[in-house]
Each structure stands twice: as structure tokens, then as C-alpha cells.
């Protein structure tokens, strides 16, 4: 086989990192037109990185186990929200409230994760679409429980939470008791920019956990399962159990991620927050250069920064370009969904290019079609 020339290496790099490069370019144009100051953008990026990184990190483990992007993470987000509804009802505030919400969410997330994992084992090879639809199904169950069960079957004592008819949770739940609790737990301001240090420490611990987890027996089993299910099974790895565990871990972490996310936002959109969580987290990871089969911690941080940079600058850029703030808002929604579509299309294109290149290399041709 021939060695790659410099031009081919650059081309390969561009192919491999096509998604982040495209978004970096579009964001750069957006920054120019949006006219935001550097301080504002840095503050926004730090806030959004702290808010979203944990949720996005929760997607890494199922990818490691070869289960693709876990659209079923919304189940974990629902569990987290149920925990938050309870602590709002009981008036438990501060870090105690967050911990209690996490404790309530944990068994629910384990249950949901186990259910999701068991279903995905039945739908091997089609995990992403199955988990996506499972998310819709569980969304219905969640809405049924929260809209009809809470306040009737499940006692809710706080009248501010319950709808005027006497049961069901209101559309918006105020999280005043835990708003910015973690973000402000260790106050740090540098040159007027607030840094949510405690949240970053939690995210750092999570990153260390992932690094450590990859080296454990279970982590190695997951990697083997992700690479080849048949070979892993032949090697004596309980592949189905391993896959379920990966989804359970991801779902539990997504529940914690949603709690961290909502403590930053300070308001729980009872019936919609979890839907947004899944879409945005997956879009962020894809924008960071991750694929359905490979994702790293670096992809998470790159993705969150690029995706949210785009998210911040696009409405203002749209406003200055077209002259209407409302169009900027539409542009923002359009950008969000377009990002996922574009990332998936680019991912498919990159896979095809990789295959063509591999075939060309096998034949002894240099470069191949990229």
C-alpha cells in the first residue's frame, strides 16, 4: 500500500472533520453578522457548556457498546423531571433538593433504562430508530402520569403545582428553590465573567469516570460488544446484559444531566423539556464530529461549544441580515433541526467516502475518492 501524500492527508482530515469544520465556518459568519461582544459570547458559552455537557456526556457509553445515539435518553430526562416535580412539591431547596431529586430519579431511570435496553436488544441493528420511537411512547406514558396521575393517584400537596381542576401538574414548574444552586456553589468571577466552577467540577468527575470506566472489565466488554457482537458473544461476554447495562447507565446519567440542566434554567417546562434535551444533546454530539459508532469526550466539548455558539449567534445574525427579530427566531429553530439532518447526511457521506477510500487503498490506488 502506498503512503498518503500531504494533500491526501489534508483531504482526509477535512472528510473526517467535515461536520465541525462546516459549523465552525457558519458560526464564524454568524459571529460577524450578530455583532456580539467577545465577553458576551464567552459568558454564554461557559453557561451553556456547564448546562449541557453532562447530558451530552451521557450519550458516550451506549455508543461505546455499539448501540448508536441513545435517543432513549429522554426517558432519563423524564425521570429527572419527576424527581424535580417531587422536590418542588415538598419545598426542598438547594443542593439538598438537587441530591434528593437525583435520588428519586435514580430508581426510575434504572427501570426506564432497563426497559429501553430490553426493547433495544429485541431490535438489534435498528437501535436508534427504536429508541427514538420508544421515546415518543414513553413521552405519552409520562404525560398520562403527570397530567392525570399526579394530584390524584400520586399526592401533590403544593397548590401552586397542581392545575385548577385539582389534579395534573401545571405546564410550567418553577424551580426557584434550586435555581443556579450548583452553578453558584463555588462562586468564581474572572474579569466580570461568571464561571460555574462547581458544575464544571461535576462534569470533570464525570469525564474521569468515563475514562476509568473504559478500562474496567465492563467497559472492555462494552467495547468488544460494540466492535462485533458475534465475536464478543463467542468470547463469552454476556452481550445482551452488557448492552442493557450501557443503556441503564446512560439513562441514569441523563436523569442527572437533566437535573443539572434545569437547575441552570430555573424553570421546568413540564411537558416539553425532556423532548428538547434529547434532540439538542444528540445534535451537539454530532456537531462535535462524533459518529454513530465513535464518540469521545473531545467531541462532546467541541460539539457543545460549536452547536451553542451557532444557537446564540443565529437569531441575531438572522435579525441583522433580514431585519426582523421573529425571522431570527424561526432561523434558530430551523438551524437546530437542520443541524441534525446535515450532521446525519454528512455522516452518511463520510461513511461512504471512507468505504470508497478503503477499497481504493486495498487495490493499491492512492487516495481514492474522498
Amino acid at each position: 500500500m502506498k503512503r498518503m501524500t500531504g494533500g491526501e492527508a489534508v483531504r482526509l482530515f477535512c472528510v473526517r472533520n467535515a461536520v465541525p469544520i462546516v459549523f465552525l465556518l457558519v458560526s464564524a459568519i454568524g459571529i460577524y453578522y450578530s455583532q456580539f461582544t467577545a465577553e458576551y459570547l464567552i459568558q454564554e458559552m461557559l453557561t451553556r457548556l456547564a448546562r449541557n455537557a453532562f447530558l451530552v456526556l451521557s450519550l458516550l457509553i451506549p455508543i461505546m457498546a455499539g448501540m448508536g445515539l441513545n435517543f432513549g435518553m429522554v426517558l432519563g430526562a423524564m425521570a429527572g423531571q419527576i424527581g424535580l416535580i417531587f422536590i418542588s412539591d415538598w419545598n426542598v431547596s438547594g443542593l439538598y433538593g438537587m441530591t434528593l431529586a437525583a435520588l428519586i430519579a435514580t430508581p426510575l431511570a434504572i427501570l426506564f433504562g432497563w426497559m429501553c435496553g430490553a426493547v433495544l436488544n429485541k431490535a438489534r441493528g435498528r437501535e436508534m430508530v427504536t429508541s427514538y420511537i420508544l421515546g415518543f411512547f414513553m413521552n405519552g406514558v409520562y404525560q398520562l402520569a403527570v397530567l392525570y396521575g399526579f394530584g390524584s393517584v400520586v399526592p401533590i400537596l403544593n397548590p401552586e403545582l397542581v392545575l385548577s381542576r385539582g389534579y395534573g401538574i401545571r405546564n410550567v414548574t418553577n424551580l426557584d428553590g434550586i435555581r443556579n444552586t450548583l452553578d453558584n456553589a463555588i462562586p468564581l468571577d474572572i474579569m466580570g465573567i461568571h464561571i460555574p466552577l462547581a458544575t464544571f467540577l461535576v462534569i470533570g468527575v464525570f469525564c474521569l469516570f468515563i475514562v476509568w470506566f473504559r478500562r474496567t472489565k465492563l467497559g472492555q466488554d462494552m467495547r468488544a460488544t460494540g466492535q462485533d457482537l458475534g465475536v464478543a458473544h463467542a468470547a463469552g461476554i454476556p452481550v445482551m446484559r452488557t448492552r442493557i447495562i450501557s443503556i441503564v447507565i446512560s439513562t441514569v446519567l441523563a436523569a442527572y444531566g437533566q437535573i443539572i440542566f434545569l437547575q441552570n434554567v430555573g424553570t421546568l417546562n413540564t411537558y416539553n423539556s425532556h423532548e428538547q434535551a434529547g434532540v439538542f444533546a444528540i445534535a451537539s454530539l454530532l456537531v462535535g464530529g462524533a459518529t454513530v459508532a465513535r464518540a469521545s469526550i473531545l467531541n462532546v466539548f467541541t460539539g457543545v461549544l460549536l452547536f451553542h455558539l451557532m444557537f446564540v449567534v443565529s437569531p441575531m445574525a438572522g435579525k441583522y441580515l433580514v431585519g426582523d427579530a421573529q425571522i431570527g427566531e424561526y432561523f434558530r429553530v430551523f438551524v437546530c433541526y437542520a443541524i441534525i439532518s446535515l450532521a446525519l447526511v454528512l455522516h452518511a457521506w463520510r461513511r461512504h467516502a471512507d468505504k470508497v477510500r478503503a477499497r481504493a487503498a486495498l487495490r493499491g490506488e492512492s487516495g481514492g475518492a474522498a
Binding site: G94, T99, L100
Partner: protein
């Protein structure tokens, strides 16, 4: 000849796993109960009115005060005024600052109280606590 170690029975391993899981669950429940107890936020009604002391004497309300519960945002109260404050957990420290006509603090007193001693209504007469904090 040294004997080979006897294999641990499967039943014993399962029992050990169950025991560890039960201990974990109990610890998590205890952590939850502790979080609930320490993080529960109570809405306290703060009043500033005249009252009759245990000695049978009538004590007047304070002219103007600023009340801090656990160093949180202060509550400003005039004579015969009432407002609500929040307190997280069971034990609290209340700081009462007596203000002059220009709303400048002239004297400050601290008193500790628990939620249990406030009764079901969770009411505090600041004038009474001011006297108690002497």
C-alpha cells in the same frame, strides 16, 4: 499435602450480593431522608406587633426592623407590619436589626430558633424575639 480451598457456595454469593444491594438501598434512603430534613424550606410569617410577655407586661412593637434569616435576603418590617420569609432546614439563626428614622441600623441582635418551637402556624413575632435575644 495441602488441601485445595473449598469453593464458596453459589447461594452464599447470591446472599452476599443481596445483602450489599439492601445496604446500598438503605444508605440511599437514609441520604434521601437527610436531604429532605436539611433542605426542606419553610415559609415563615414574620410579624412586628405588641405582645404580652410571660411576666404579664405589655411590650410594644419595634419601630422599624430588618430581619435576616440565615443571612438570606432581609425582610423589612414597620410597626404592626407582617411579611413572609423562608428558612431551609430545622435550625436557624435570625438577625434582627433595629433601624432609626433614616433606616440606618442602630442595634443588632441574633437569636437561634428551630422550626419545631414555632408551632404549626410558623409565625414569629419579631418584637418578642428581639426581647428574647437580649
Amino acid at each position: 499435602m495441602s488441601q485445595l480451598p473449598t469453593p464458596v457456595s453459589r447461594r452464599r454469593i447470591i446472599l452476599k450480593h443481596v445483602l450489599v444491594n439492601v445496604v446500598l438501598v438503605v444508605l440511599l434512603v437514609l441520604l434521601g431522608a437527610w436531604c429532605y430534613s436539611e433542605g426542606k424550606t419553610y415559609k415563615i410569617t414574620l410579624g412586628n406587633s405588641a405582645f404580652t410577655g410571660r411576666d404579664g407586661l405589655e411590650y410594644p412593637a419595634l419601630e422599624a426592623v430588618e430581619v435576616f434569616i440565615d443571612r438570606e435576603e432581609p425582610v423589612f418590617l414597620l410597626e404592626d407590619d407582617s411579611a413572609s420569609g423562608k428558612a431551609m432546614g430545622k435550625k436557624h439563626t435570625m438577625e434582627i436589626r433595629l433601624l432609626d428614622e433614616n433606616d440606618k441600623p442602630i442595634e443588632s441582635r441574633r437569636i437561634q430558633f428551630t422550626i419545631a418551637e414555632l408551632g404549626e402556624e410558623l409565625e414569629i413575632n419579631v418584637a418578642e424575639f428581639w426581647l428574647r435575644a437580649k
